[in-house]
């Protein structure tokens, strides 16, 4: 049901405009490994989209396909209604790759100058340097940069001109907290100017805070697609935890309504009659109500929202246990 809501929301968002990015049944394998399986995906102008997924979920492969660095085995994809190569030649796409190296033996400002020269709609050098926060290292040799500085230079290369789509693969890896904040500040500016931003990340809080749409990839498929709030709701919205004294009826607990996960710990030892129960529920009110209905007296009852991280883990592990459900969820 959430899927339907999500789809409607996205359709509404993009109804008036043509998609920036469109994947239709795209598949890509490396030998026996299916990196991307039958992927359907559309991004619309002005969206800030986070691509989430555990390692090996197909994030980097998806971005490589999108940027034309690899060709799909099956299906088709387009950027701005044309091929990735053409879109890049037109200067509509800027990208910052995890695996993107830098030219060595040149100064930072020389490298950014090169990016400007190669961009059909380049910004002034000073502005690019200032936006990326690398004005102070302009004369430094590229080979002598720290990891965080390198990332900022990559960012400068990705934003050297007026791109309509910015693609970032794990952009803040190696940055400290303040650099990360500066980075996302700059990224927000880009988004406010109407650019579409797509980023893959490991940091779920980044997806939660910055993205207005989150796509969860798992085993090369879209497992969930919606706002961070919708994703959390999908995974079982609330977490309920409490302690129980005395013997417990496990079957009755498992039978509680709207349950998506149940974990019982403690018990068995000296004061052995106390158990801690942790529940994830899609309707915490109903679950707690039913709990009292069982005649139980829960101590230290806490009901809290689920972080995106827990939602993410819940989603991906659930699909690992029952692949069939994941297939359904993906639809």
């Amino acid at each position: 049901m959430t899927t339907t809501a999500t789809t409607t929301a996205i359709a509404a968002r993009g109804a008036d405009r043509a998609p920036v990015v469109s994947f239709r049944g795209v598949g890509k394998s490396y030998g026996a490994v299916r990196a991307v399986a039958d992927l359907d995906l559309e991004l619309y102008p002005g969206e800030t989209v986070a691509l989430l997924g555990p390692n090996g979920a197909g994030k980097s492969s998806t971005l490589d396909l999108l940027l034309g660095l690899r060709s799909p085995d099956s299906g088709s994809l387009s950027l701005f209604g044309t091929t990735p190569q053409r879109a890049i030649e037109q200067g509509r796409v800027g990208a910052m790759l995890q695996s993107g190296g830098l030219m060595e033996g040149v100064k930072v400002k020389e490298l950014v100058g090169l990016a400007r020269d190669l961009h059909p709609r380049a910004y002034p050098l000073d502005r690019i340097m200032a936006t990326a926060g690398i004005t102070d290292i302009a004369d430094r040799m590229v080979d002598k940069l720290s990891g965080g500085q390198e990332q900022r230079v990559r960012f400068a290369l990705a934003t050297a001109g007026a791109n309509d789509l910015i693609v970032l693969d794990e952009p803040t890896t190696g940055m400290d907290v303040s650099a990360r904040q500066t980075f996302w500040g700059a990224m927000r500016q880009q988004a406010e100017q109407g650019r579409t931003v797509l980023f893959a990340t490991h940091y779920l809080e980044e997806a939660d805070e910055i993205a207005d749409r989150v796509i969860v990839l798992h085993r090369g498929r879209v497992l969930a697609d919606g706002t961070a709030a919708e994703i959390k709701a999908r995974a079982g919205a609330r977490r309920v935890s409490f302690d129980l004294e005395g013997p417990i009826d496990r079957d009755a607990l498992h039978g509680l309504p709207f349950l998506t996960a149940l974990e019982i710990s403690g018990g068995g030892r000296g004061d052995g009659s106390r158990h801690t129960v942790r529940i994830q529920s899609q309707d915490a009110d109903a679950t707690v109500h039913a709990l009292y209905g069982l005649g139980a007296y829960p101590h230290h009852l806490e009901v809290s929202g689920l972080g995106l991280e827990q939602a993410f883990i819940a989603l991906t592990t659930a699909s690992d246990v029952t692949p069939a459900t994941a297939e359904e969820a993906a639809r």
Binding site: D64, L67, L97, S99, L111, L114
Partner: protein, 245 residues
């Protein structure tokens, strides 16, 4: 695109170690090989050892700098991901190849000139002014062919395979092109085959001028053909490089 060519040249000049050895190696090799030779003409040729090796060592030295230097550096850049980053720009394949060839030619020019200076100063080679200029120019321009081959090899091979493959081309071409020893001492069938090698045509440009004539049209045509094949092959490989390295 011009910025990339400029940057590649600046970068080559900044790499002092590579520059030094690339420039020093050919004249030293020239002195070792031709240093003790007398001034009698080589059997079957009008030229003596000093003259013959001046051209072949200048050619060999230029080839060392551009073929080995280019292929290894490009393979390394692909591994580090710089080429992936570059492919996300509007740079056309020919721009990349042109930049790499420009950088290689920057390194090869001084090594060519130095061989000629050493030949004149130490071995007492004397030529007309137009001959000096023409030999330097043809040897330099001819090195672009091998620079393009270097780019192509840098794209064909990855990682550890680059050096052996580049070496195979390098030694094979140098030997069969007669850069190490005059081909007149080899069986006739080898000479017939070697005539079509780019290295043979390359050295023949200079030796024709030394003998007092203009470079042969056939040799120029052979080199132009190889340049076209190598450069377009390199540009194609650059654009088609979808392997993760």
């Amino acid at each position: 695109m011009t910025t990339l060519i400029k940057l590649e040249i600046v970068r080559a000049l900044r790499n002092k170690k590579f520059m030094f050895f690339s420039v020093i190696y050919p004249p030293v090799l020239y002195l070792i090989i031709a240093g003790g030779a007398d001034s009698r003409p080589i059997p079957g040729m009008k030229l003596d050892m000093g003259l013959y090796y001046m051209v072949s060592m200048a050619a060999f030295g230029a080839m060392t700098a551009v073929l080995l230097g280019n292929s290894e550096r490009i393979a390394k850049e692909r591994e580090k991901g710089w080429v992936r980053q570059l492919r996300l720009t509007a740079l056309p394949g020919r721009g990349y190849v042109a930049a790499k060839m420009g950088a290689a030619a920057t390194v090869s020019l001084p090594s060519i000139l130095l061989v000629m200076i050493v030949a004149a100063a130490v071995k007492g080679v004397r030529l007309e002014a137009w001959q000096w200029v023409t030999i330097a120019a043809t040897t330099w321009l001819g090195s672009f062919v091998f620079a393009a081959l270097g780019v192509a090899i840098g794209y064909m091979a990855t990682g550890d395979a680059v050096r052996p493959i580049a070496m195979l081309f390098y030694f094979g071409l140098a030997f069969l092109g007669g850069l190490w020893m005059p081909l007149t001492i080899l069986p006739e069938w080898v000479q017939n085959v070697a005539e079509w090698f780019p290295t043979h045509a390359y050295a023949a440009l200079g030796t024709a001028v030394e003998a007092g004539g203009a470079p042969h049209l056939k040799d120029m045509a052979i080199l132009a053909g190889y340049l076209l094949v190598f450069a377009s092959g390199a540009a194609w490989l650059y654009r088609k490089d979808t392997r993760k390295t």
